[in-house]
Structures are given as C-alpha cells and as structure tokens.
C-alpha cells in the first residue's frame, strides 16, 4: 500500500496548504494513477475532518462567569467610572443635587447670625429678642438664631428660625408660632414663603 514516502509527504504538505504549484501537479497526476495513494489520501482527509469537527467540544455554559468570578477585584475607581458612563443622566442628576444641597447647607451655615426686624423697638438680651410690654407689632415677626420672648403683642405670626419661644404670660400673639430649626423645615418654609409671595393676591 505504501507507494513512496515522497508522495505521502506531498499529501501532508497539501493538507497544510504548504505545497508548491509544481508539487501539487505532481501529486494530482500521481493520485489519478495510483489507487493505493488515493486511498491513503482519502484516509488522511477523513482524519482531518474527524479531528477538526469538534462542534461538541465546548466548555460548560458558565465558563465565562467562572473565569470572571476568579479575577482579582477591580479597582473601585474603575467601577465608579463605568457606572457613570452607563448612567449619564443619573450622574448629572447626582452632581446637580450635590451642588444644590451644598449650596443650601453653606447658606444655612453662614446664616448663623442673630437677625430680627429692626426699628420695631425690640430689645435684645443675650440670645433673646424681647417684645416689650407696650410694643405692638402689626406684622409677622421673624427671628433668626435667637429666642423670642413676647411681653407685648404680635398681630401676625411669630417665626423662629433656630430659636425657641420663651413664653411670657403677659404677651399676646395673634397668629401662629412657627419654630423652624431643621434645614429641611427651613427650606420648606422658605419655599412656602416664596410661593406665597409670588401668588399672594394683595
């Protein structure tokens, strides 16, 4: 069955795509005349087909997942970066909120000075703003960062920001007493105030 080694060598060269044109011609004409070599060549081609046809040769389905699970933990910075790339809207919203809140908080924190309406004959003692007995305030009284003691009369509301109302038996407040000492309450109050001033009919 063995024709000659040279021809078999040419067959292998042919199968590897590593054959010269002349040698290919030689091989072809020899195969046409030699049955034994033809058989040998068929067997080689079949072997290649059998070994190459490895469609079933697959790892388990969770191969990729297993590999990924075994990789060392990624740097946090990368995770954040990718997250931001994937969610640009959320990132923008987050940045917006950070800026907004930092603005509000710094406004809140800077606003630590005692303030009260001037020119209404109010007395300030330490941290307390006193409405004296014979003083009548026609409007709302807004006091920031101080306590309030009403001995006279307030016809409107008393709004206390960061302070409390020290009740005095003699005083009279026609409206409500609002104590605002939380940032959010303060914001809410400011907002309400703004809305009221925008929509107020008078």
């Amino acid at each position: 069955m063995k024709c000659n080694k040279e021809m078999v060598e040419l067959m292998h060269q042919y199968l590897d795509g590593d054959i010269t044109r002349d040698d290919e011609q030689l091989l072809r004409s020899h195969l046409q005349s030699c049955e034994a070599c033809q058989k040998h060549f068929q067997e080689l081609k079949r072997t290649v087909a059998l070994v190459t046809a490895n469609l079933e040769l697959k790892p388990s389905n969770d191969f990729t997942r297993n590999v990924m699970a075994q990789l060392p933990k990624e740097k946090k910075r990368m995770t954040a970066k990718r997250w931001m790339k994937l969610h640009p809207m959320l990132t923008a919203a987050a940045i917006f909120f950070i800026l907004m809140f930092s603005g509000i908080f710094s406004a809140w924190n800077q606003d630590q000075q005692l303030s009260y309406p001037k020119g209404q004959n109010l007395i300030v003692e330490n941290d307390t703003v006193i409405v004296p007995k014979d003083v009548v305030i026609e409007d709302d009284l807004e006091v920031k960062n101080a306590n309030v003691k009403v001995e006279g009369e307030v016809k409107g509301d008393v709004i206390l920001i960061n302070g409390e109302h020290l009740s005095a038996s003699a005083g009279k407040i026609a409206g409500e007493i609002k104590e605002v000492d939380q940032v959010f309450n303060w914001m809410w109050y400011k907002l309400k105030d703004l809305v009221e001033s925008v929509f107020s009919l008078d």
Partner: protein, 188 residues
C-alpha cells in the same frame, strides 16, 4: 470578534476595565478549551486549565504586546499550562516519546471495517471521546501540535511561535501526528 473590537477591548482591560475582558473570554473560550482538551484528554481538567489560562492572561495583560496577535499569545499560555499539568501527571519520557514505527497496528486498527460508524455520528459525544481517546495515544508533544493545527485557523508559523519550536519541526510533527491518527481512525 472583529479585530478592531478585540484591540479596543484589550486596551480597556489594560486600563483596568474588567468587563471588557468578559467579551474576550466568551469569544475564545471554545478554542482555548479545545486546545487544552485535545492535549489533556479530560473535560474537567481541560476546563480548569482553560480557566487558569484566561486568569493568567488577565493578570499579565500588561506584558502583552498589542502589535502581536492576541490569539497566539493566549494559546501559548494555554499550551504551556497544559504541558505543565501533563508533566506533573506523567514521567518525562512519555512527553518526549516518539511515535513508534509506521507498522504500529493496534487493537482498534484491526477492527473490521463493517463496524465503521455512520457519518452523522462524527459530532456525537461518543464519537468525540473515541477520537480523543485515539489522540491521547499519541505522545504529548504531538498532541499539542494536533490540538493547535486542528483548530484550523493557525498558520504553521503561528504554531511555531506558540510552541516556540522551529517551523520545520512543526511540519514534521504535524505530518507524523496526522499519519499516526490516520492509522488509528481509518476504520471509522
């Protein structure tokens, strides 16, 4: 995977983006697994080694030269790991053993032709393990050549780069390996 996309993914992995590596694993897993399996002959072991190959590739991605072919680099990691594993399992002489003379007709080769299996079963698992069994009869250095050659995508030069042996040696081993397999599989 398109060459461009692969290059882009490798760049991302180099920068530390792990998810970009996932696509690479998904794309190459079958091939890397096939190489390992052809060489070691056991699915579970092949899967272990293939996983390790990908992990090594990830850890050493910085040393990968982007001007070279990624598949060649990856397959080299896989074959080296598999060869190490075979070394641990078997004594050295087995690795370097030559195929015995052309006359080596064995039990399978002597089976009568009417037991040949129909064509459709080539892809069946049974058939696969039968073929693999025949491949396992070859010495390891022929198995690595067979494994790479029959992925059917690598040039002789690439195989020589992966295994770090001269192209001439690659050719000789492919020829001998294929000849030996022909004898074992011709009755199929």
């Amino acid at each position: 995977m398109i060459e461009e996309k692969l290059k882009h993914n490798i760049k991302l992995v180099k920068k530390g983006d792990q998810t970009a590596f996932e696509d690479i694993v998904a794309y190459y897993q079958n091939k890397v697994f096939a190489i390992c399996y052809r060489m070691i002959g056991d699915k579970q072991e092949a899967e272990d080694i293939a996983q390790e190959a990908f992990i090594r590739a990830y850890l050493n991605i910085q040393s990968f030269d982007e001007n070279r072919k990624f598949s060649t680099w990856l397959y080299r990691i896989a074959t080296n790991l598999t060869i190490d594993r075979i070394r641990k399992k078997k004594p050295d002489y087995y690795l370097d053993a030559e195929i015995k003379g052309t006359e080596g007709l064995n039990l399978y080769a002597q089976l009568p032709a009417e037991q040949a299996l129909p064509e459709e079963e080539v892809e069946s698992l049974e058939m696969q393990s039968y073929i693999q069994n025949e491949i396992m009869q070859l010495p390891a250095k022929y198995r690595s050549i067979i494994a790479l050659r029959f992925l059917d995508e690598l040039s002789l030069k690439e195989i020589s780069e992966i295994l770090e042996i001269p192209v001439g040696t690659v050719k000789t081993r492919i020829h001998r390996g294929r000849e030996a397999l022909r004898k074992r599989l011709r009755h199929v």
